[in-house]
Amino acid sequence: MRAELQTPDPSRSTETEAGFEFLNPHFAPERFPWPQVWGYGGSLLLTGAAVYLVLLHVLPAAGLGALVLALAGGQALLQLGVFMHIRESRGPAWQILPLGLSFVIAFALVGMSIWIMTFKWGAS
């Protein structure tokens, strides 16, 4: 397979070298930075919600921890989508694939470290 970069052609925007529609490059020129404004508001809202939920102790510890981690994950997706323009690229947006893989590895690394060490602390 040739790795040659193709110049984006608006007339064939539904197909790509990669063959996956989600890798299609996407640029969003805006007359006013509304996405950034909404993204900022959304990030403040997500952080405020997490602090509020923790201070009120709305759930038992395990459920509350999972909930605020989910809010942090939403914050990460918001930053990636709104501010980091993850779909912008000259050809197919290849960065999406290694980034997704690194999320899987990161969660596996943290999750399995916690899991395996519970056996050690559990004995002491």
């Binding site: 020129p29 602090v51 921890g65």
Partner: protein
């Protein structure tokens, strides 16, 4: 499978910088140039590896969190107020660098530099708050030598802080370059990769805030 480089009769698939940059209509400056566009993809790979470094530090923090030895636990040590202030500084700086890139796309160099400078001031404010928090902790006898918990805490949080410090120095260099050379495909790519880096640090901080500071209030 053999690598095509140097062994193939075909020309290399990648064009190099001595060819004139051709700018495409409707595509931002930093992507219109083929080499700069490749460097942006390469910078995503830098962020991917950096993410794995932070994942390792989060894993060690999660494992060592109960190992407080004779020192304080997170619940005893961390105040939420300064962590919330640091979060607001970084979230706002993420927004301002987003606006800087938006102005860059419109070719407004002055506004872009103004928003980058504002971003760096917010980043410096964040660093000041963080260093103050560290100094207070250490004055209370909670240094990185006190317990495994505090070693992993200082390692995780100060690695992020060192990234922010590097980002500030890097962006000062980029601003100087833009002032001297103007906005072209190379300088636009540098501003764009800096913005990727800065938003990435914001994501890492949100997880530090959630796991370290909110986590201490949950447990």
């Amino acid at each position: 499978m053999s690598l095509p480089l140097g062994t193939s009769e075909e020309p290399l698939p990648i064009r190099f910088a001595d060819e004139p940059a051709h700018h495409l209509a409707g595509v931002p400056l930093e992507f219109a140039d083929e080499e700069q566009s490749l460097k942006i993809t390469g910078f995503w790979m830098v962020l991917v590896t950096d993410l794995l470094i932070f994942a390792s530090l989060f894993a060690s923090y999660a494992v060592y969190r109960p190992m407080v030895a004779a020192g304080p636990s997170g619940a005893q040590l961390f105040g939420l107020g300064s962590a919330i202030a640091e979060t607001l500084f970084l979230l706002t700086s993420s927004f301002t660098v987003g606006i800087a890139v938006w102005y860059m796309r419109r070719g407004n160099q002055r506004a872009m530099i103004g928003w980058i400078v504002l971003t760096l001031l917010l980043g410096a404010g964040f660093l000041g708050l963080e260093l103050h928090e560290f100094a207070v902790d250490i004055a209370r006898g909670a240094s990185w030598q006190t317990s495994a918990f505090l070693s992993s805490f200082f390692l995780l949080v100060s690695t992020h802080g060192a990234h922010v410090l590097f980002g500030i120095l890097w962006a000062v260099g980029i601003v100087v370059q833009v002032l001297r050379r103007g906005l072209n495909a190379v300088t636009a790519r540098k501003v764009y990769t800096f913005s990727l880096y800065w938003h990435f640090l914001d994501i890492i901080w949100v997880f530090i805030f959630t796991v370290v500071y909110l986590g201490a209030k949950i447990a």
